[in-house]
Each structure stands twice: as structure tokens, then as C-alpha cells.
Amino acid sequence: MNLWQQFLSPRSIPEAIQALRSASGAAIPIAGGTDLLLDLEQGRHTPIHTLIDVTTIPELNALEERQGSLFIGAAVSLNRIARHPLVGQHAQALVEACDLVGGPQVRNVATLGGNVAHALPAADGTIALLALDAQAQIADGSGLRTVPLSDLFLGPGKSALKHGEELLIGFSLPLLEAHEASSFKRFMRPQGVALPIINLAVRIARKAESIAAIRIAVGPGAAIPWRAQAAEQALTGLPFDESSMSAGLEALLAHVGFRSSPLRASADYRRHLVATLFKETLLTAWERADQ
């Protein structure tokens, strides 16, 4: 069956918003389409009439330093992100996450905007962005606004973006200062859907041998991409050692809402795995921050 009837390629944000609002029949923005087209094909998404290609809008393809932050357009491909020196410098966790999504062919078209808009609680790019304290830029008929990333999620697969009205433009990440770094890791199982059974990203600021500040995101720690705030609080100000790690992990485990997902992992297994993931990811970020 034809997955779409009309394919529009607007050249600007207002043009895209206009197309979204005035399309005959259901309309949806498409970036890489690597999730969207499959969902349409396999009947997981209601049929649509018009695809609005946002990869032709220059603003959504921007990747640059802007007023003390790193801006990544929603339609920048994951491979371009992973290879970009600015991202390598300021967001290693994002490089690591983008490098693990799909295969190379998929990453040449898949985008961070799509990853976030899909609103899965363990999407690799989303989990990295959450730890990196990203802000999302959204356009609607009245202009642009910036919101914390976590405001975009309502539930598994449910984005807060208003269908047919709003467009995700890009993400702003704070630049790293000296002795700050990030890291991302995940575990998979070899069978079934290629989604991580658990992933974790961390951004850490180091002051000599102590943790000055830390942000930790874990997927799927809840119905939406989840931050381990209790663990962050427990770790802040502590020296980076075994007992701090145990305290942080304990705080994480006390609040995390791991579920059992059939064919992927039980909650028990996730609780077991997160111990290794937590220690390994934090250690990598910590060592990176020593530079």
C-alpha cells in the first residue's frame, strides 16, 4: 500500500508549519523516516496523507556553536553528529549514543529529532540528550520557544509535541567547561528487536577527586526518559570511590521503575545490569573529565 500520497519539501520553518496546518488529510513531519515509515508500513501508526520533509530546511540542518551552547538541528543525521568535532568535544555521550543507533546506512538518514519525537523511554539519543541537559527548540504558528527536553514526553511513544501544529527545530546543549565530560553505554540482547534492554548516560563535573555536579539518565527507567535525580543528589560533593558509587547506585535503585518487558528483559535483570552499567559509565566519564 502507498504509505503516503503527498510528499512536500518546504524550505523554511514558516513554510513547514503552514504545510502542516493546511495539508489535506493527516500530515506529519518526516526527517529520516527510519522509525516513522516502518510504523506506517507495519500498521503501528495511523495512516497519513502528507509527509512534510523537514530535512530541506536549513535551520534544522544546522550544527554549530551558538551563544555559549551547542546547537544541533533536529534533522541532522546521526552519522553527521557522531563525526562532528564540536559534538566530540562537548557531548561524547551523544557521539556514543548516535554511533549505536541502527546500522551505518540508517544513521545516514536517521536524525536526533526523530529519535526524540518517537518518545521511547530508552531511545539512545534521547537518553544522552537528557543527561547532557539539552533544551529543545520548538516552532509553532506564533514563533519559536525553548523548553527542557524532559517536557517533550508524555508516555511510551507519546510525544508532547502537538500533532499538526508544532515542529521540533533542534537542541541546545551547554558547552563543557574544563573537567567536565560525559559518557553513554548500553546493553543489548542478541535476539529480537534491536532496542537496548538498558542504557545509561552521564554528564559529570569534576573538582579534583570529588564529584562537583552530575546528571544521570537511564532508559527505560520509567514510562518516559528518566533521570536518576536521587542518585545525582547522593553523589554530588562526594569523592569518586567505591562507597560513593554504591551510595549512588542504591539511590538509583530505590527510585527507578524498571519493568519486565516480554522477550527483552525482566525487571530483575535490569536491576542487576544497571549496577555494571552505572559503574562503567560513570568511570568512563570521570576519567574523561580529568583532562
Binding site: 503516503w4 523516516g33 520533509d53 529480537g192
Partner: protein, 952 residues
């Protein structure tokens, strides 16, 4: 306002009006007829459709064509030209002259220029079925453009999601590295390092490239879906979608009324027989109203329409009402009293029995008895080319069917009986196949396409999408195997009892044969005096189960090879020593009462593997922490296997071959044996070249055409090298004798003094080219052509005590794993595989069969599981059924063991299956050796390993 798409494809500009829903793959394939870009999954999983868009590899099957507007596309067809324009890297290599391909050179004489990657893929044997190859090469090309010094890791990352189901990843890797080296240095492609046969033949036993290799690397190879015919309609099958029900009503009126729909047929419209099947005709072509639906893939109605879109729409408009029945979801449940019976004769397809000696006495004599139950799941072939059939009615009232099928002659009879026609009115024209592995033995769309072509008088194409392919075709049997072994303290096996349940699904397919093989092989390749095996092959409401590489032996080998290691541990014996003590040898008597008289290379296989493994690791079966990472435990594990060559069990095992010498001196060898990528066509060509002492490229091969090629029998049971190899050899000897007689008469010498050497025939001082031989024979009124019907040695049915099989192949493999004790994750690092193949015919082809067998065994162990829930398919897309990719490929060392079998061609026997059988238990035994967790249910569940370790 219609949008225009203007784009550049392979350096040429094109403009097209945009079409709704069109992907780049469709634009390339349908509008530009660039069919080298293959569509295998349509879900971004397999990489077969990879093309370059502005130099970056993307998946064309999920890339909207309109997005390509203004961009530059490179597909496989444009690669060589692109390379010649690139300038800095020099000019494309020519296959001719550069190819180190054996004594005679084997490259076709008129070869277009190739990119070094294409040339290297050919020479390194990376090309098997060929369906993934355009995607592999385009992905590799994108890598080399960026990085001409790729490491193995770079290469694996780049090819991570470009799947090869033939499993030729090691050859793909070596080809890419060789191409990169050639491009850096300007030197010719370095040949692969592949051991040649120890036998002393001119052609046989030396590396030869495939006759179809060039077309498979340059994108010109034509598979069924690449064909189109004038006036062709597109078909779609309305499937039941429910696992067990009676069809209460069926309303096709909306579908039939849809403009553009040419025909809608139901069971009521079938002119001939209503059922098909390979052995038992129990599989309805369509389910009629009032009849029983037995699985989700059952056909209710079929549609032909002007476009695929319309056919799909029409099929969705067909309304069915069902009276749902309780679902039988497994073989043990199917045998319980009081459950619904799926077929009139009940749920039992067959109770298979093997009896040898006196089991009671055997256990009484045993010092040690062990018993354990094992489970294996359903597995999916996941051949990359989905099933496609095109039926074309001809002016002389016949039906031509273009299809990739493993049994062309059986397709012919099955189609004919449903059309109600004599077989002579049906012609099967077998096309190149993108893999089969047993999954293309049963009817897929052949009959449906033919019925629609019969009713419309127009050509009809029926192409399965991946989803339909996964729902419909027969799978590997899921099994439950209880095994009880009794042994003496010193390790000698005394008794073995097995009880197998096999899930044969909704229809018989080859279930009886497959489970018979599982049962007869269930005591392993060992000489056991007292054996009793009972197997219940049960109908269920799951997809049918039939042939799949290994043919039942895969399942029972997992059970018996696991318990052999458990026994070795119990008796504190070395696992190799225990197996060597009990291994089948010349003089042994099999479970079915067959005395093995020759060609039993099992002990040598185990010895070679043992030596190699101990060279690599002094104490291979002991756990070793990885230096610097004590949570990563390593160990080797071992398993052995045997597998019959040929049908056996009393079935007549025949093949015909027809050899013709043409006026230009070329030869054509013909048989309807199927080429699914395994390399039979290379074997046939080499056999003719060997017997006539001509260069192999003087020999063409024609297979799978029921009008033009004699019946080669089914391509199953690792039989074709033996059976059709012999037919080709004997047809060639017949022609050779005819030539010798004719030349003897002409030049007045005894026939025995006519010599065949270096591409010429020598008689009494005259040296004749084959072109001259052809014209001289014709002048003498003789046709230079020979047909030979080969019949393999007779076998006896199970239970008769006679010889069930005319040959067995043997193998032993060791796998080294690394288990992460924190996460339960398992990696296979190295596999050493020894295979007794009788005699190697083509070392390059053998390498591919061994690598592919190991990869398939690894998939069975670690990644693959076809999951059903109450008769519904959970793993209904490739995204949910993981085929192992290049990232999981271990270092594979292939050791060839040659114990010739007297009747085989040059001593050869089959290898296609046995190379895949020991891998899985070798891996699970290695896991046990590494961390002490016994895997008794496949696939390996890393969560269970982790849990077992944290609960310790």
C-alpha cells in the same frame, strides 16, 4: 501541479513525475530497470538495497524517491564506471588475466570492466547466492571512499547491518581488505589463502570461481522479481490471519468490484486437485467455506490486479467470518488425550521408531546413567530473496512459471494437478535464487500465480513481502528431546534412549522425513550397542515445519552433544577422548543397523580439531579469565556430528544430466538440480572440464528448466554434488566415449588411444579442437550429445535393518566463547571446524559452505528464535528475528578431511548441512566450560546465564 523528480543516477540525469508512496528502490527498479538494487526486507534491516546518495550509503527501500530530487545516486550498475571516472585510483580491473583461478583460468572471456571490490568478491568466494552482494559492495565502496586503510574493526562497523544469509562474512572481509590493498598499491587482487584438495586431479580439487559470479557482482544477475512481462498483473493472497477455525463465510464482492482488479479466486474456482504437498497432499491451495483453517498463513482467496497497490487493496477488502477453534500450540499438547484434532487422521503425523539391541540390558550393564531434556525453538530460513513466482500463459496453451525453487520438477507436477492439466503443459523455468536452505522446497506462490494466470490469460507476478514470507513458508521443527544415556565407568557408551517431540505445524511438508532424520541421528555419531528412539511428529496450529539445513539432525545433535559433555564431566573424562572412544568408524554399526564400510572420517575430524585447539590453548576446556578483565571468562567447547548424504530410507535417488557439444567447441551441461547459492553449477562445470580436459570457461551450465533440463531431483539432503555431480560425470564420460569412438573410426586407431588433453582431442597424430570434433561427428551423422540418468546406490527403509543411506559426512567443531559473568553476554571468538567431505571438489565453494554453516549454527545458538504465541507469529518481521551479522562473526578455521567414498564423484559426498550441525552444541558446551551454566533450551538466553551466576 505534479512534482517532478530530477536526479542523477550513475552519472546520468533523469526526470520523472513524482508518484505517491514511491521509494528510491522502486524508482530505480521499476522506472529505470536497474534491478541490481535488491529489496529483501523493506524494513531497514538487511542492507541489500544499499545505494549511495551523494556518496553516503542509504537504504533505498525506505528512502522516499522525492527526497532524492537534486541528488546524485550511485547503484551497483554504475560502480565500475564511477571507478573509471574517479581517475586517481587507476582504471577498472579486467577479470580476464588477473584472476588466479586455477590451472586453466576460469574467467569468462568477455567480462566487462569491474571495480576492484567486485573483482575481489569474485576471487575470494564472497559471492554465493548473490542477493546481498550489491548491498555489500556498495556499503564497502562507501567505506573505502572514506578510508582506504580500513582495519577489520572499521570494516565490521561499516557492514554491521548488511546481512549475508549464506554467512560468507569471512570471505567478504578478506575480499574488501584485498580490494583496498589493490587500490592502494595498484597491484592485482591478492588471492585468498584456501587449502586445495589432496587429490590429484586437474580441475577438481582446485579453486574455481562461480560461473555466475560476474553477473552477481555487477548487478546484472536476474532473480524472479527482476523480471517483467507485457500485460503482467500483480497478485496478492488473502491469508486467514487466525490459527485455527472453520471458515464460515467469505465475501469477495468488494474486492472483485474494485476497478483494476482482473480476477479474484477462491477454493470454489480451483479446476483440479485442491491440495498440494511434497509427500502427503494435505495442504489446501485455498480454504473453502466450511473448511478448516489450520494456521495463520492459510490462503482464503487470491487476487490479480493491474498494480500491486490495487491487488493489496483488493485483498484487504475480502471479508471472512470464522468459527474460531481452540489452538494447538505445541507438539506435546497435540498428543494429549482429548485435544482437538487438526487433521482427519488426528494430530499424529508419524510415530518414528529406532530399535537396536536391548535397551533394558544396556542400562542394566551401565555404570553411569544420565538423563536430561532439551528444547529447540522454531527457526526461520530468512533467505534474503523473498518468494516470487511469475506465471505466464503461452500461445500454445501452456503455463510457464518463473520461480526460484529447490525442486523444479515437483513444482511442475504440483502446479499441473491443481490446474487440472497434464504435466507436459507446465514448464518451470528456475531463476537465480537468493538462498533457500530448505525453505524453498514447498510450494509458495507457484500454484496461486498459475491459477490467476489461467483465469485471466495474462502473466501474473506473486511476490511475497518479508512479512508474508515469514508467516507462510515451512520452518525448522521445534523439538523437545529427552535423552538418557548409559555408559561404563571408562566411558564406553552402552545404551541410549531418546524421546523426541517434533512440531510439524499445520501441514506435513517434509515433516515425516525431517523427524525421521532427527530420530535416526539422535544417538549421535557414536557406536552404541543398545538404542531405542521414539519420535512423535505432531501437527499443531503453527506454521508448517519442513526442510531446513540440517534436516532434523541439527536438533538432535544439540541434545546428544550436550549430554556427551555432561557424561564426560560426570566420568571426569576429556570430552574429546570420550567421543573418540565411541566414535563411528569403518566397521561400526549405526543405530539403524547399517555397517559402515568406508569413508568415515569422524575420528580424524576430532583429532584435527583437538590438535588445533590445543595448539591455540593448552587447556582448552578449562575456564580462563581474560587478562585485565576477570569478569570475562573464556573456554572452548567441542561437538561432533554426522549427516546422511542423499535421500536414503529406500527412496529412489536419481538425477539426470545432459551434455551437448556445440559447433563453436563450447559445451553445455544441463540438469534441473537447483542452484540456490551453494555452488552446484561450479561443481557441474568443473566435472565436465575435468573429464574432457577442457578449460572450465568452455562449459556453460543450464539448470532448473523442466523443458530443457532432465530431472535432477530435489536439492535437499546434501545430495547434489554426489548425485548430480555423478550424473554430470557419467554424462561426460558417455560423450567422451562417443567422441573417442568417432575419432577412432575417423583416424583409424583403437578408441583407447584417443587422448583428451589441454583442450584438444588427440588421435593418431591429429590434434582436434572441440569445434572440429563437433563438426566431424555431425559429418559422420552423430550428435555430440549425451544424456545420463544416474541412480545412486539403493537404500532401505528404516526398520528393515538394511543400509538406510549410501554415504555419511562427518564433522567436528570447537568453539571458543567469552562469557561476561556480570551481564551473561556471550561472544563466540573462534571456531575450528573440520569436515570430512569425501573429496573436495571446489575448495572455494567448500569454504563458503563451512563459513555459512558455522554462521547459521551460531545464529541457532545465540540470535535466532521464531516465536509463536497461541498460533500467532510474534516474530513476523525481520526486525524481530535476528540473523547474525558480521559483528558476531568469529575467526573461523576450516580444516578439510578427505575420506573418499568410492561411489561419489572423485570420492565426494555432501557438506552443505554437516558444516552447520556441530556449531550450536560446541558453543553451548563452551559456555558450560567457561561459567558452569548448562544451556538446555535454545537460543542461549543471556538473562538466564546472568541469573544462574548471580544466584550461585
Amino acid at each position: 501541479m505534479k512534482d517532478q523528480i530530477t536526479l542523477t543516477v550513475n552519472r546520468r540525469s533523469h526526470a520523472f513525475p513524482a508518484q505517491p508512496g514511491e521509494t528510491l528502490a522502486e524508482l530505480l527498479r521499476n522506472r529505470l530497470r536497474l534491478t541490481g538494487t535488491k529489496v529483501a526486507c523493506e524494513e531497514s534491516e538487511c542492507g541489500a538495497c544499499t545505494v549511495l546518495v551523494d556518496s553516503e550509503p542509504v537504504l533505498a527501500c525506505m528512502y522516499p524517491a522525492q527526497r532524492a530530487a537534486g541528488k546524485s545516486i550511485l547503484s551497483i550498475e554504475g560502480l565500475a564506471e564511477e571507478y573509471s571516472h574517479a581517475g586517481t585510483h587507476g582504471s577498472p580491473v579486467r577479470a580476464q588475466g588477473d584472476a588466479p583461478v586455477g590451472a586453466h583460468g576460469n574467467a569468462p572471456s568477455e567480462v566487462p570492466s569491474l571495480h576492484p571490490l567486485q573483482q575481489a568478491f569474485i576471487e575470494h568466494g564472497a559471492v554465493q547466492c548473490g542477493y546481498c552482494i550489491p548491498g555489500q559492495i556498495m556499503t564497502a565502496h562507501a567505506l573505502l571512499q572514506r578510508n582506504l586503510h580500513p582495519s577489520q574493526e572499521d570494516l565490521r562497523v561499516a557492514l554491521k547491518d548488511t546481512l549475508c544469509r549464506c554467512g560468507g562474512y569471512p570471505s567478504i572481509e578478506s575480499a574488501i581488505l584485498a580490494a583496498a590493498q589493490s587500490m592502494r598499491t595498484g597491484e592485482p587482487i591478492a588471492p585468498p589463502l584456501i587449502p586445495q584438495s589432496a587429490s590429484l586431479h586437474t580441475v577438481v580439487g582446485r579453486t574455481h570461481i562461480r560461473p555466475d559470479a560476474v553477473e552477481k557482482v555487477d548487478g546484472s544477475a536476474i532473480y524472479t522479481d527482476d523480471l517483467e512481462f507485457d500485460g503482467m498483473l500483480f497478485a496478492k493472497v488473502r491469508r486467514a490471519g487466525v490459527p485455527h477455525a472453520f471458515l464460515k463465510s467469505l465475501d469477495i464482492s468488494k474486492a472483485a468490484a474494485l476497478p483494476g482488479v482482473a480476477s479474484v479466486l477462491t477454493a470454489a474456482d480451483i479446476p483440479g486437485e485442491h491440495n498440494h504437498g511434497l509427500v502427503i497432499f494435505d495442504w489446501p491451495v485455498m480454504i473453502g467455506v466450511g473448511e478448516r483453517v489450520r494456521y495463520v498463513g492459510d490462503a482464503l482467496a487470491i487476487v490479480a490486479a493491474e498494480t500491486q497497490e490495487l491487488a493489496d487493496q483488493a485483498a484487504a477488502l475480502i471479508e471472512a467470518e470464522f468459527d474460531l477453534q481452540p489452538v494447538i500450540s505445541g507438539p506435546v499438547q497435540a498428543r494429549q488425550p482429548g485435544v482437538p484434532q487438526i487433521h482427519e487422521k488426528g494430530n499424529l503425523l508419524k510415530h518414528i521408531k529406532v530399535r537396536k539391541g536391548d535397551l533394558q540390558q544396556g542400562f542394566a550393564e551401565s555404570d553411569v546413567i544420565l538423563e536430561h531434556t532439551f528444547h529447540t525453538p522454531i527457526y526461520e530460513h530468512a533467505f534474503l530473496e523473498p518468494e516470487c513466482s511469475i506465471a505466464v500463459p503461452t500461445a500454445d496453451d501452456r503455463m510457464h512459471i518463473y520461480v526460484g525453487s529447490q525442486i523444479p520438477y515437483q513444482d511442475r507436477s504440483q502446479v499441473a494437478r491443481v490446474l487440472g492439466w497434464p504435466e507436459s503443459r507446465v514448464r518451470i523455468l528456475g531463476q537465480l535464487m537468493g538462498g533457500g536452505f530448505g525453505g524453498k522446497e514447498d510450494i509458495a506462490g507457484q500454484i496461486h500465480a498459475a491459477l490467476l494466470a489461467q483465469s485471466t490469460g495474462r502473466p501474473v507476478k506473486l511476490l511475497f513481502d518479508r512479512h508474508e514470507s515469514m508467516l507462510v513458508h515451512p520452518k525448522r521443527h521445534a523439538t523437545q528431546i529427552r535423552i538418557k544415556v548409559g555408559a561404563k565407568q571408562d566411558g564406553r557408551l552402552v545404551a541410549m534412549e531418546t524421546e523426541l517431540y517434533g512440531d510439524t505445524g499445520a501441514y506435513a511438508s517434509l515433516g515425516d522425513k525431517v523427524m525421521t532424520r532427527a530420530t535416526t541421528h539422535s544417538a549421535g555419531p557414536y557406536d552404541v550397542p543398545h538404542v531405542r528412539a521414539d519420535c512423535y511428529a505432531m501437527y499443531t496450529n503453527n506454521p508448517p515445519a519442513g526442510a531446513f539445513r540440517g534436516f532434523g539432525v541439527t536438533q538432535s545433535a544439540f541434545a546428544v552433544e550436550s549430554i556427551m559433555d555432561m557424561l564426560a564431566e560426570k566420568l571426569e573424562l576429556d570430552p574429546v577422548a570420550l567421543r573418540q572412544m565411541n566414535a563411528l568408524d569403518v566397521g561400526s554399526i549405526t543405530n539403524t543397523g547399517q555397517t559402515l564400510l568406508e569413508s568415515v572420517g569422524l575420528k580424524e575430524c576430532m583429532e584435527k580439531v583437538d590438535t588445533e585447539v590445543r595448539r591455540l590453548t593448552p587447556q582448552p576446556f578449562a575456564p580462563r579469565p581474560t587478562p585485565g578483565a576477570p569478569h570475562l571468562m573464556r573456554a572452548w567447547g567441542l561437538a561432533a556430528a554426522y549427516k546422511n548424504t542423499g535421500l536414503g530410507g529406500g527412496a529412489a535417488d536419481k538425477s539426470g544430466a545432459d551434455l551437448e557439444l556445440f559447433d563453436d567447441g563450447t559445451l553445455e551441461i544441463r540438469s534441473s538440480a537447483a542452484e540456490l547459492g551453494q555452488g552446484l553449477v561450479t561443481v557441474m562445470r568443473m566435472v565436465v572440464a575435468e573429464e574432457l580436459a577442457v578449460p572450465p570457461d568452455q562449459v556453460r551450465v543450464l539448470v532448473m528448466d523442466t523443458d530443457l533440463t532432465p530431472d535432477g531431483g530435489p536439492t535437499t539432503a546434501s545430495r547434489q554434488t554426489y548425485v548430480t555431480g555423478n550424473a554430470a560425470r557419467l554424462a561426460t564420460q558417455t560423450l567422451r566415449n562417443a567422441i573417442a569412438s568417432a575419432m577412432a573410426e575417423k583416424y583409424d586407431v583403437p578408441p583407447a588411444q584417443v587422448r583428451f588433453d589441454a583442450g584438444k582431442v588427440h588421435a593418431n597424430g591429429h590434434s582436434l579442437l572441440f569445434a572440429e570434433v563437433a563438426s566431424e561427428m555431425k559429418a559422420m551423422g552423430q550428435q555430440p550429445r549425451a544424456l545420463y540418468q544416474y541412480e545412486a546406490p539403493k537404500t532401505q527403509p528404516l526398520g528393515s535393518g538394511g543400509d538406510m543411506h549410501f554415504a555419511f559426512s562427518f564433522a567436528a567443531q570447537a568453539a571458543e566463547v567469552e562469557v561476561n559473568t556480570l551481564t551473561g553476554e556471550v561472544r563466540v571468538l573462534r571456531v575450528v571446524a573440520a569436515s570430512d567431505v569425501g573429496t573436495v571438489v571446489n575448495p572455494l565453494g567448500l569454504q563458503g559452505q563451512v563459513e555459512g554453516g558455522v554462521m547459521m549454527g551460531l545464529g541457532n545458538a545465540l540470535t535466532e528464535e521464531f516465536i509463536m504465541h497461541e498460533g500467532r507469529v510474534v516474530t513476523d518481521h525481520l526486525a524481530r528475528y535476528r540473523v547474525p551479522g558480521i559483528m558476531l562473526t568469529p575467526e573461523i578455521t576450516s580444516i578439510v578431511v578427505e575420506h573418499p567414498t568410492a561411489e561419489g564423484p572423485y570420492g565426494a559426498k555432501g557438506v552443505g548441512e554437516v558444516s552447520s550441525i556441530p556449531t550450536t552444541p560446541a558453543i553451548t558446551n563452551a559456555i558450560y566450560n567457561a561459567v558452569g551454566v548448562r544451556v538446555d533450551k535454545l537460543p542461549v538466553d543471556q538473562e538466564l546465564i546472568a541469573r544462574a551466576l548471580w544466584e550461585k
